[in-house]
């Protein structure tokens, strides 16, 4: 019996997005942004939205699939899926869920989407504005541990301590995103390059993370269209196949009040071996990587846990030249990513990974055949996926 696998069983045939806005500056309602991105993804795929029969999203997206299907006039709804968990941990998981629905015959044409208008619905980077807290939050919030940066930096500080990571490693990650954003006219930080001095002189948000180690907060929406792998050649763009997708986290990752036994981790140690096994590949086969930057420290741990370098090698590996397209050792976040293109809870990273396979990125890696996305480090569950060209099947 062949192992059960998503490899090649679904393909991304359309990608679409809205313009990206600074937080609170979107001219449309969040739901309308979702529709706009989906309509654009369908136009890219050369299909009519009425033929979508499934939706998958994550992070408690507020745009209800039944309402989207009604608004778009979809003929029928067969799959409406939400990946549990917060932050961007579900980005690649939602793609895996969509592919699983297609592979199992539950749906034919599934849209993965994420829409965010933080100005209309509160803000991620701000603490809670209530008089008291109970449950697990009561054990952190009264001590001023309030924001995502506070929740995650403690993990990174421990990793940094255990492995002697220098600040320059984080700076290289931030500078790679900003360098790639200068090539990308869609990027919010297009025209605003980042140099070493600007990074070094920038204020601390929370040590050891500077302002430039932290993601943007943006409004907008992104979407992609998935169909069965055997249909992928019937669409206008070069086929981009899903070679693997995995989601989850390690033993008791959800232990409360910072009591996860394996603490200093981005939560990918148990996922990465399954990801490579499904893709029948290893880190050396990956041509280009998009790795979710809620904070640069999470990117660093994610890349170690996916085997691109060991924890002992990080100070040598994370230098800017290694991370730049077109010919760095591991071109990273080639659209500008969450730091410098747009913070769309990471789905923008998945769109960029597809562009690399289509060879249409503004920071294209020559001869890119295999493209990886790592979604949502340090939360639980997290996820990652690998895309490949037809040549990789």
């Amino acid at each position: 019996m062949t192992p059960r696998s998503l490899r090649g069983r679904a393909a991304i045939v359309g990608i679409g997005e809205t313009d990206y806005y600074k937080r609170g500056q979107a001219p449309h309602a969040e739901f309308k942004l979702a529709l706009e991105a989906i309509v654009n993804a369908c136009a890219d795929a050369g299909i009519h939205p009425r033929d979508i029969d499934g939706f998958a999203s994550y992070s408690n997206d507020r745009s209800d699939p039944s309402r989207i299907a009604a608004a778009l006039g979809c003929k029928e709804l067969r799959f409406a899926n939400m990946q549990w968990g917060g932050g961007g941990g579900g980005g690649s998981a939602a793609i895996g869920n969509a592919a699983a629905a297609i592979m199992s015959g539950m749906a034919e044409c599934v849209v993965v989407f994420r829409a965010l208008a933080q100005g209309q619905h509160g803000r991620y980077g701000q603490g809670t504005a209530v008089p008291d807290v109970d449950g697990h939050a009561a054990h952190t919030v009264p001590y001023g541990l309030l924001s995502p940066a506070h929740m995650f930096v403690m993990k990174y500080r421990r990793f940094m301590h255990e492995h002697g990571v220098r600040q320059e490693a984080l700076r290289a990650i931030a500078m790679a995103s900003y360098a790639h954003a200068q090539e990308n006219p869609r990027a919010v930080m297009h025209g605003r390059p980042l140099d070493e001095k600007t990074y070094d002189d920038s204020r601390w948000i929370v040590e050891p993370w500077h302002l430039y180690d932290c993601c943007l907060e943006n409004d907008g929406a992104a979407a992609m269209v998935l169909v069965a792998g055997e249909r992928a050649r019937d669409f206008p763009h070069p086929a981009c196949y899903l070679l693997a997708a995995v989601a989850g986290s390690q033993y008791r990752a959800g232990a409360p009040v910072h009591n996860t036994p394996d603490y200093a981790t981005a939560s990918f140690k148990t996922l990465a071996p399954r990801l490579y096994a499904m893709a029948r590949m290893g880190p050396a086969d990956i041509d280009v990587l998009q790795s979710y930057e809620n904070f640069t420290g999470g990117v660093l741990m994610s890349i170690v846990e996916h085997g691109f370098c060991s924890a002992a090698e990080v100070n040598d590996f994370f230098v800017l030249d290694n991370l730049l397209a077109p010919d760095g050792q591991l071109p990273l976040n080639t659209s500008g990513g969450n730091l410098a293109e747009c913070y769309m809870h990471g789905l923008g990273l998945n769109l960029e990974a597809v562009r690399q396979i289509r060879r249409t990125s503004t920071a294209q890696v020559p001869r890119a055949e295999v493209s990886m996305v790592i979604s949502g480090p340090m939360v639980t569950p997290v996820s990652s996926c690998i895309f490949g060209s037809e040549a990789t099947l």
């Binding site: 009561a138 054990h139 009264p142 001023g144 541990l145 409360p256 009591n259």
Partner: protein, 145 residues
């Protein structure tokens, strides 16, 4: 009585059925940690059952408020209105000694710009908020002498 480490206005902890003995213990200057009555192991943060043996009958055991800094952070950017005038402050994650490696979150008292040392021994300090309604107590930390 010394003033609280952080400026007033942050959300106050509200005991729940999950952790009421913990908060009542702190008010009496006792650190009580959840401990399974069957397998006798500590667990934290609070859970409804023992994650090791699934026993539903959990007790609470007093432990000495001493431990070691497992990780830390110095916060500079205020994300709550109460902290606008606070300036930098330090949060530590402390492994409690002699309690199956459970960790608690607190502030490290003293100069917010002092050196932060992973592995250093710390001593618990009970910080009473007697004027709050309802009154509560936080467990803070300082370097052990």
């Amino acid at each position: 009585m010394t003033s609280p480490y952080l400026r007033p206005g942050l959300p106050a902890p509200l005991p729940s059925d999950l952790d009421r003995p913990y908060w009542e213990g702190l008010r009496d200057e006792r650190l009580l940690i959840q401990r399974c009555k069957r397998c006798a192991r500590f667990q934290w943060g609070p859970e409804w059952i023992c994650h090791r043996c699934l026993n539903v009958d959990l007790g609470w055991t007093e432990v000495e408020p001493r431990g070691f800094i497992y990780s830390h952070q110095r916060v500079w950017h205020p994300v709550h209105p109460a902290l606008r005038e606070q300036g930098p402050y330090v949060i530590v994650l402390v492994t409690i000694a002699h309690a199956d490696e459970v960790r608690v979150v607190g502030n490290l008292l003293g100069d917010p710009l002092q050196d932060l040392v992973i592995g250093a021994e710390v001593q618990g300090v009970f910080e009473h908020h007697a004027d709050a309604d309802p009154a509560y107590t936080l467990l803070q930390w300082r370097y052990a002498r």
